[in-house]
Amino acid sequence: MNQINQSGWKPGTPIAADHGGDYPTVTGNKALMLEEPLLFELGTAETCGVDLPAPDPKASNRLGPMARESDIGLPGLSEPETVRHYTRLSRQNYAIDLGLFPLGSCTMKHNPRLNEKVARMPGFADVHPLQPVDTVRGALGVINELAHWLIELTGMHGVAMSPKAGAHGELCGMLCIRAALEARRDVRQVVLVPESAHGTNPATAAFAGYEVEDIPAGADGRVDLQALKARLGPDVAAVMITNPNTCGLFERDMKAISDAVHAAGGFVYCDGANFNAIMGRVRPGDLGVDAMHINLHKTFSTPHGGGGPGSGPVVLSEPLCPYGPLPFTARMEDGTVHLVEEENADQFGHTHSFGRMTAFHGQMGMFTRALAYILSHGVDGLRQASGDAVLNANYLLRSLDDVLDAPFGDAGHCMHEALLSDHGFAEGMTTLDVAKGLIDEGFHPMTMYFPLVVHGAMLVEPTETESKATLDQFIAAMRSLAERAKAGDETLKTAPHHAPRARLDEAHAARKPVLAYQEVANG
C-alpha cells in the first residue's frame, strides 16, 4: 500500500459507520459533524426541485439529430436538500475566519470587515471599466490615492497598478527593466537570482527572455555578497532578490548589493511579497531598488487563496518609470483624476511604455480594500502591524527552537516567519507527519518543504492577526508533535485521526483526479 495513503481511502470507498470512534453511530455522523454524501448519492432521477409544466406532447422536436437519445442521469434534489448539502460541505472547510492559518510565505491576515464594507459600496462595486471616464472619477480617485500611498510607503518614484498578482507584478517589473535596457541598446542576457529568492523569480526572468544564474546563500541564510559581486559584469541585466527572503531573514546587505549592481550597469528587482514585515519601517527606494511588486492580498489584508483574487502593483524607480505599463492614473492641478491610455500618453510625458499588462486598470475590489486598510491603520498603525507580525514570528521561533531545529536560529532575529526543519526526527518520521498531526490538533498545517534549501522545512507565519493565547495554543501543539516525531510515535504516521477523512493520497488525487461521478458497486 502506498505509504502516503495509509487508510487506503479513495473516492467511492464505502464509509464505515464507525470511523475509528469508540462510540459508533448508526448514521456515521459524529454529533453535528455530518457525513456528507455526493449529490449523486443524495438525489434520484425522479425528484425535481423545480415545478416545471409538463411538456406539450404536440410540440414539434426542433432539435433534429441533436436531440438527446438517452437519460443523462442528473440527480434531482429539492431546494432544502440542495441548500443543506452545500452548507454542510462549507462547514468542513477551513478559513481564516475560523482560526490560525500559519502558512509561511502566504501571509494569511485577517480581512477587516471595514474593507469589505467599503469594497461593496455601489460606486466601487458596480462600475464597469468601459464606462465613460466622467462617470467613474471617484473610482479613479481611489486608484490614484492608493498609488500615492504605495509610492509613499516604498520611497519609490512611480507605480504600475494593473498587475493582477505577485508573479504578474514580477513580470511587469522585468519587462520594464528589459524595455529600459533595450532603449539604451544594451543586450545584457543574464539575470542573477539568489537561492534565498522566491521560486517564481527565476521563472519570471526566464519568461522575460533572460538566462538565469544562481547566487549561493551564505551560512547565515542571506545572499553571499562577495559571490554576487564576483559574478556582476556587462552581461548582467538584473538581480532579482527577495527581501525579507524566503528563510524569513532580512537581507542586511541590500544597499551594498544595489550599489554594486548599479555600478555594473544592471537593475535591481526586489520581490516585495514579504513587504508586510518591513512596512512603515523600511523604504525599498532607500535601499536602491528599481522595481518591486507589492502583494496587496498579503501586506494590505485583501482576501486571497480561496477567498479572492490577488493584486500585485509594481513600484518603480525614476529610471524605470518611463517604461511602465498603461493605463495609469494622474491627478491634475485642478484635482481631477485622469486615466492615461495610449491616446493621451503623450500629454502626460509617458511615451516609452512597454505596453499593457492587462486589458483594464487592475483589481478594483482589491484596491478599495487595500486603501481602506492603509487609511484605517494610518502610518503608526501600519508600523505597528509589521512590528507585531515580526514579534509574533520571533515568539514562535524562540518558543520552539529548544524542541525543533531552527536552521538559521543563530543568524539573529527572524522577520515575519519562523523557519524550522525535520532535523532530529526519528527515522521514518517526516515534516508531512507533523503537518497531518496539526490537523488533529485543530490547526491548518504550516507551509512545508519550502524553502527548498532547508531539509523538511516548516515555515510558519503567524502575522500580526494572532493573539498571544492563540500562539500559545499553537506552540503547545507543535511542541507535543515535535516530541512525538522525535520519539518515532507510529500513531503520527497515520494522522489525522479526528478529521472526517484519514490521510488521503494527495499525489494521486492531483495526478489522477476523478472529476465525474462514477457509480461504485456496493461491496
Binding site: N2, I4, L432, E506, R511
Partner: protein, 124 residues
C-alpha cells in the same frame, strides 16, 4: 554490465541492446519523499532527451528524460503502488523503464561512475 550516468541524474545499465534506466541516489536525496511516478508504456518510441516520465516528491515534480534513443520494452509498474522504492532503492528496485538501444554511439557522451561522482561534488 557497464553503468552510465547523465547530467540530469539518471543512470543507465546496458546489457547488450537492452538498457535499464532510473534516477540516481543523489537525485532521490534531492527530491525527498517520492509520492508519485509515471513511467512510459511499452512500445513508446523515445528520442534522446525526450520526456519519458514524471517523478513527483513532496517538494517538487520533475520530468524524467530518455538519456538515449530507443523503444520502451517495459515500465516499472511496481512504482505505481510503491513510489517510495525510488527512495529506498533508487539504483536497483526503483528503476523506471527499460528500452532497446537504438544507437549505441549515443552512450559515448555519458559519464561513468567516477565522472558522475565528481560532477555531483561540483554541485554541492
Amino acid at each position: 554490465m557497464p553503468r552510465y550516468f547523465t547530467e540530469e541524474h539518471e543512470w543507465i545499465d546496458v546489457d547488450g541492446d537492452s538498457a535499464t534506466i532510473g534516477i540516481t541516489d543523489y537525485a532521490q536525496e534531492q527530491l525527498g519523499d517520492v509520492v508519485f511516478v509515471e513511467t512510459p508504456q511499452a512500445g513508446t518510441q523515445l528520442a534522446k532527451g525526450a520526456e519519458a516520465g514524471v517523478v513527483e516528491s513532496v517538494k517538487a515534480a520533475s520530468d524524467v528524460y530518455a538519456p538515449i534513443s530507443g523503444t520502451v520494452t517495459e515500465g516499472n509498474t511496481a512504482l505505481e503502488d510503491e513510489p517510495e522504492l525510488v527512495n529506498s532503492s533508487p539504483e536497483e528496485d526503483g528503476w523506471f523503464f527499460k528500452l532497446t538501444v537504438a544507437d549505441a554511439s549515443e552512450l559515448e557522451g555519458l559519464m561513468d561512475e567516477a565522472a558522475y561522482e565528481t560532477f555531483c561534488e561540483g554541485l554541492d
